[in-house]
C-alpha cells in the first residue's frame, strides 16, 4: 500500500458535524441528514459518527451511536451505585446482572430512549472528548496508519494538517485498501 492517509480519509466537509451547545436531538438529526445528503458519497461505508465543533470550527469531540444510546438511558441513584461498584472487584457477570435488574426496575422505563429531557441535553455533556492518541498526520503512509489503528485499538483516527483536523480516517476505508492490495499480491 503506497498511498498516504489523505488519499483515503473522509474530508471533514463530508462528515456530519454539529456545533457545541446543540442538543442531543439535533445531533441525531445531523447524523440522519448526512446519510440523506446526495452530495456525500454513501456508496462504500455509511457515517456513524457526528463530530462536534467549537465556534472556531475546530473539532472538540465526537459522538457515536453508542454515546447517544448511553446518554438516553435513565440515571437513578441505583444506576450510579452500580456504576460505582464496578470499580470494587465484582465480576463482569455480577455487574451485568445487577445492571439489567436495575434497568428493568427503573421507574422511567416508559420513557427510556425517548425521554424529552434527555433529548434536550447538550452534546458536550455526553460527547467523547478527544484524546492524545486520536490524531494522525495526513501525510502518514497508509501502512503506518493501519498499524496505528491496531496498536491504538481504534476504529478511526482524526486526520490533521498542521494541527488542524481536516478529515477522518476510518478502519473500514483502510480495510478496503488492504483488500485491494492483498488481491494484487495474491
Amino acid at each position: 500500500m503506497n498511498s498516504i492517509v489523505k488519499d483515503f480519509m473522509v474530508p471533514l466537509s463530508d462528515y456530519a458535524t454539529i456545533s457545541k451547545g446543540s442538543t442531543l436531538y439535533e445531533a441525531v438529526l445531523a447524523l440522519e441528514n448526512i446519510k440523506k445528503d446526495k452530495n456525500v458519497d454513501q456508496s462504500v461505508h455509511p457515517h456513524w459518527i457526528v463530530l462536534v465543533l467549537d465556534k472556531n470550527q475546530e473539532v472538540i469531540g465526537k459522538m457515536s451511536q453508542l454515546n447517544v444510546v448511553r446518554a438516553l438511558e435513565p440515571i437513578t441513584e441505583q444506576t450510579e451505585i452500580v456504576d460505582r461498584i464496578s470499580n470494587f472487584g465484582f465480576s463482569a457477570n455480577f455487574i451485568g446482572a445487577i445492571r439489567e435488574e436495575s434497568f428493568q426496575n427503573g421507574n422511567a422505563r416508559d420513557y427510556v430512549y425517548t425521554d424529552p429531557t434527555k433529548m434536550e441535553m447538550k452534546v458536550e455533556d455526553f460527547m467523547e472528548t478527544l484524546v492524545e492518541n486520536e490524531f494522525i498526520d495526513e501525510n502518514t503512509s497508509l501502512n503506518s496508519a493501519a498499524h496505528q489503528l491496531t496498536v491504538r485499538n481504534r476504529l478511526s483516527l482524526l486526520v490533521t494538517r498542521e494541527d488542524k483536523v481536516v478529515g477522518v480516517l476510518r478502519l473500514s476505508d483502510v480495510f478496503t485498501a488492504l483488500i485491494t492490495a492483498m488481491k494484487k499480491a495474491h
Binding site: 472487584g89 455480577f94 446482572a97 445487577i98 435488574e101
Partner: protein, 473 residues
C-alpha cells in the same frame, strides 16, 4: 514554632503528590484544622510492661497526646492524640500464613510512621501484607479524626473522619468519611464516603453504600471547617470527661475490677458500672452505667452508655453502644453507632454480627433477633428488614444477593466463617477465654503497664517538636 509548621507543609505536599492522579487536594481539609498551639500543649506517653516488647524511636516529630506501646519508629510526623498500639505485632520466627505459603518472619515487626499526620487515629494489629511482614509502614499519609488504621500499611493516602482501613495495604488512595475497607490490597482508589467494603478475592465481596445526604447528618467534613455531624457532636460532648484522667498522674479506679480483667487507667468510668471476669477495657474507652459480662471487650474510643453486654462480646475500635441490651457473642464492628433511647432500647440477640460502620439510631424500640447480620443505616423496623439477614440464610447464598444498597457476590458461608473466625481470634487475643492458667490475652497482660510521659520543646523554633528519643529495654 517554625519547625512544626514546616513539617506540616512538607507532609501535606508529600500526600498531595501521591494523590495527584486522583486530583485530590488535602489542603482544604487539614489546613488550620488543628491549631499549632494545640499541638504543643499535650505530652506523649508510652507503656512499659514485661508482656510487651519495648522499642521506640522518635525523631523530628510532634507526638502531642499520643500513646505508644510495643515497637514503633516515628520520623518527620505529626501524631495528635493518636494511639499506636504495637501489642499484636509479629515476632521473629513466627510463621505467617498467606494463601498456600508459610512465610517465616525474620525479625520482630515494627510500626514505622514516616512523613505522616495522624489525628486522633488508632493504629493497631500487624501488617497482613506478605511483602512487608516485618514492617507495618505508614508513610506520606494523613488520617483524620477517629480513623482506624488496623493491620493496614499505608503509602500516600488520605483517610477521612471516622474511616477504617482493616487488614489492607493501601497506596495512593482516598478513603471517604465513615468508610470501612477490608480488601487485601488497594491502589489509586477514591473510596466515596459511607462505603462499607469487605472483599476476599475469589471468595466473597460485600459492598454497602450509605445514602450520602443521610450520612452527612452523622459525619461530614466540609472544606475549610472542622468535621461535623452527630457522631462528632457525640464524642466532643464527652471530651471533658477525659481531661482529668490525662491531667492526673496516679488515678484510683472507681469500680471493682476482677483479677482476670483489665480497665485501662486512660479510660473513663462513670455511674454504676460493672466489670466482669476477663473483660478488657482499653484506653480512651468511656463507660457509663455499663454492665460488662465475662469476656466482653471495649476497645479504644468505644462508648458504652446505659447498656448491658452479656459476655464474650466484641466492641471493636470506635464502636458506640447507647441504651442497648446485647446478648452473648455479639460482634459490634469498628466505629458502629448504636443509639437507643431510654424508652426505646435496642436489643441485639446472641451470636449476631453488627457489621463495621453500622448506624442504628432509633426512636422506637428495636430488636435484632439472635443470629443475624446487620449493616448500614437503620432507623426503624423497615430499615432493619432491608439491612439485615439471618446468618443461616446468608450461609446458603452461593452466587449473589442484593438488598437495597447492599451488594454481595460469592460464598455466603465463607463470608460468615471468615467473620466468626475473626471474632474468635479477637476474643482469644483479648483474653476472653482465660481459664486462670491458659489463654492469657490483653485483659490479663495489660493490667500492669507503667506509663512514662515525654515532652516537646517548650519554646523557640522547635516549640512543639519532641527531641530525638530512643527507648530500649
Amino acid at each position: 514554632m517554625k519547625e512544626i509548621e514546616k513539617l506540616f507543609d512538607r507532609i501535606v505536599q508529600r500526600v498531595n503528590i501521591n494523590l495527584r492522579e486522583l486530583e485530590y487536594d488535602v489542603n482544604p481539609y487539614v489546613n488550620k484544622l488543628i491549631p499549632f498551639n494545640q499541638m504543643v500543649k499535650f505530652y506523649g506517653f508510652y507503656g512499659v510492661s514485661p508482656h510487651h516488647p519495648l522499642s521506640f524511636e522518635f525523631k523530628n516529630s510532634n507526638l502531642a497526646g499520643s500513646y505508644f506501646l510495643g515497637r514503633c519508629r516515628v520520623s518527620n510526623s505529626l501524631l495528635y492524640k493518636s494511639d499506636i498500639r504495637g501489642d499484636e505485632l509479629k515476632k521473629e520466627k513466627d510463621l505467617f500464613q498467606y494463601q498456600d505459603f508459610e512465610i517465616p518472619v525474620v525479625d520482630d515487626e515494627e510500626i514505622h510512621i514516616e512523613d505522616s499526620f495522624l489525628i486522633k487515629t488508632l493504629v493497631h494489629n500487624f501488617s497482613h501484607d506478605p511483602e512487608t511482614l516485618e514492617r507495618f509502614f505508614i508513610k506520606d499519609t494523613i488520617s483524620m479524626n477517629y480513623a482506624n488504621i488496623h493491620g493496614a500499611p499505608s503509602d500516600g493516602c488520605f483517610l477521612g473522619v471516622f474511616s477504617t482501613v482493616d487488614l489492607t495495604t493501601m497506596r495512593d488512595c482516598v478513603i471517604g468519611n465513615f468508610s470501612y475497607v477490608q480488601a487485601g490490597e488497594i491502589n489509586h482508589l477514591h473510596i466515596p464516603p459511607g462505603t462499607v467494603w469487605v472483599r476476599n478475592p475469589g471468595e466473597f465481596n460485600f459492598y454497602y453504600q450509605y445514602p450520602e445526604n443521610m450520612l452527612n447528618d452523622y459525619v461530614f467534613l466540609p472544606a475549610g471547617s472542622p468535621p461535623q455531624g452527630m457522631l462528632i457532636d457525640f464524642v466532643e460532648d464527652r471530651k471533658e470527661a477525659f481531661q482529668r484522667i490525662f491531667d492526673v498522674v496516679n488515678i484510683e479506679q472507681s469500680v471493682d475490677v476482677p483479677s482476670s480483667a483489665s480497665l485501662d487507667r486512660y479510660s473513663v468510668t462513670k455511674g454504676h458500672t460493672t466489670i466482669g471476669e476477663n473483660v478488657l477495657v482499653a484506653q480512651r474507652a468511656y463507660l457509663q452505667n455499663a454492665w460488662l459480662g465475662k469476656g466482653a471487650n471495649v476497645q479504644e474510643n468505644c462508648f458504652i452508655i446505659n447498656s448491658r453486654l452479656e459476655g464474650n462480646d466484641v466492641t471493636a475500635h470506635g464502636a458506640k453502644i447507647i441504651e442497648a441490651d446485647v446478648g452473648t457473642m455479639v460482634f459490634v464492628g469498628f466505629n458502629s453507632f448504636l443509639r437507643g433511647r431510654p424508652d426505646s432500647r435496642i436489643v441485639i440477640g446472641e451470636d449476631s454480627i453488627v457489621m463495621p460502620h453500622t448506624i442504628i439510631d432509633v426512636k422506637e424500640p428495636l430488636t435484632i433477633p439472635p443470629g443475624h447480620l446487620v449493616w448500614g443505616l437503620i432507623q426503624d423496623e423497615t430499615d432493619l428488614a432491608t439491612n439485615s439477614i439471618s446468618i443461616e440464610r446468608l450461609k446458603t447464598i452461593d452466587s449473589k444477593l442484593t438488598v437495597g444498597n447492599m451488594f454481595f457476590e460469592g460464598n455466603g458461608a465463607g463470608f460468615v466463617a471468615a467473620f466468626q473466625e475473626r471474632i474468635h481470634h479477637i476474643l482469644d487475643a483479648n483474653g476472653a477465654f482465660f481459664n486462670g492458667a491458659e489463654h492469657k490475652g490483653h485483659a490479663q497482660k495489660n493490667q500492669f503497664i507503667s506509663f512514662n510521659t515525654i515532652q516537646p520543646y517548650p519554646e523557640g523554633n522547635k516549640k512543639g517538636m519532641f527531641p530525638t528519643i530512643v527507648i530500649q529495654p
